[in-house]
Symmetry: C2
Subunit: 228 residues, 2 copies
DNA sequence: CGCTCTGTTGAAGAGGCTCAATATGGGTGG
DNA sequence: CCACCCATATTGAGCCTCTTCAACAGAGCG
């Protein structure tokens, strides 16, 4: 898979990513040496279920889709990675194979660190493990929250909560652009594109939101939304 | 909260728990010194949402329920901890407060390590961080899988998958005892006790399982179950 | 022995999914 | 730069699964 992609040495991701950027300049050099930079084209697969990918992948530029396939073959979008975020951690510390899929949503530049190199770095610079643990903890938190929300909230509520979250991320404004297609959003929220369309239309009609353009949404009544 | 519980020095949990038991005997001593053992009575709260509990809790004996409350006040059971398992990790490496609740399902003995002590241990024995990372990775894996299953499978399928998992855990036999009440199971699987009752009755009628007694189930046709 | 919590069963209704038809729009090639 | 095309999005109708509410049975505990 990787063979067909251009490989070049690349350093920006090391300074970019929170798990390394607390290190001093001179130590970063060492990490940069361990890192390999790879280009992917839109639609390329970075890893897939069953792979023994024993590397950590750090996004340098572009957007990466992480998803799973359920027993019944349906796709669930786990998350979208932006520059500075990483993936591949599960197969790194477990002895299992990948269970998820990673796919480039746009052309992307990815930095890769091999398991053994990362382990050596951790032993040498234990502070890296704190960053990693913090990142894991926060992801676990998010994932459990997401699971709890699937388990206890109805679709309508999950959509409303999601919109409120988006607004909170877009600082200083009540207007934002959905970061993905409604098809992907449906997969992320565990519903269908049809339901998303309908619910957004309902919210608009009830005066909670305004759909400015295709993917742009303005929140008119955040509190109202959350009471749904 | 902890004041009313008996506190005594206790060492069994350190040998018990995978994150420490790979250390040599002489180093374990040091950990035991950092550990505090606390008794809880059935129903006691160990921590709850909003707490700044900056400790790791390791179950020495007993069973602990970890659950969350959703926006709408419904409870979702995240998992049940058995001896050797730990919790509290999220608030440990994050700067956030607890979002979950931990409650003793039975009388229980819990070992507690304070954040700062754990951090010192990690720096001194970096191999602890690998165990922790492995544990985090496997929990994250499970949680994402659970979320994906909520998002994509219908209730019937989730119940069937759960039964198959239980059977796989009960080695050498197709018969097992449900580890929790059906009420809790419903909360864990994101459904209602009524639905669990009905689906189990259906499965039994279709010849996939046999309900031996109150919480005992025998799987007759695992493959059939998984095809539902 | 009675009380309470858990589990079962029935009936009704709602919420969301599926399928299908139609609209829209971004991207591509001419 | 325009036209076309395919993926994405919308809208409607019917249906199915699951939840809800209620009534009752059973088990565990004081």
């Amino acid at each position: 898979m990787a063979e067909k992609h251009q490989i070049c040495s690349h350093q920006s991701c090391v300074s970019l990513v929170p798990i390394f950027n607390h290190l001093e300049e001179k130590h970063r050099k060492e990490i940069i040496d361990a890192v390999q930079s790879i280009s992917y084209k839109k639609g390329d697969t970075i890893y897939q279920a069953g792979d023994h990918s024993d590397s950590l992948y750090i996004v340098s530029s572009g957007k990466i889709r992480i998803y799973r396939l359920s027993e019944s073959g349906k796709e669930q979008l786990i998350r979208i990675l932006y520059p500075g975020e990483f993936t591949g951690e599960l197969a790194l510390f477990n002895e299992t194979t990948q269970e998820a899929y990673a796919e480039a949503m746009t052309n992307a530049q990815i930095c890769r660190i091999k398991r053994s190199d990362l382990q050596n770095l951790i032993i040498k610079y234990p502070s890296i493990s704190f960053s990693l643990l913090a990142e894991f903890a926060s992801r676990l938190e998010k994932s459990e929250k997401q699971a709890a929300s699937f388990a206890t909230e109805k679709v309508e509520t999950r959509i409303a909560l999601y919109l409120a979250d988006c607004m909170d991320l877009a600082e200083q404004t009540t207007e934002f652009v959905l970061p993905m297609s409604k098809k992907d959003l449906a997969s992320y929220l565990g519903t269908t594109p049809e339901t998303i369309s309908r619910k957004l239309a309902e919210f608009e009609q009830q005066g909670y939101i305004k759909q400015t353009s295709a993917r742009q949404i303005k929140i008119l009544d955040r509190n109202g939304l959350l009471l749904i």
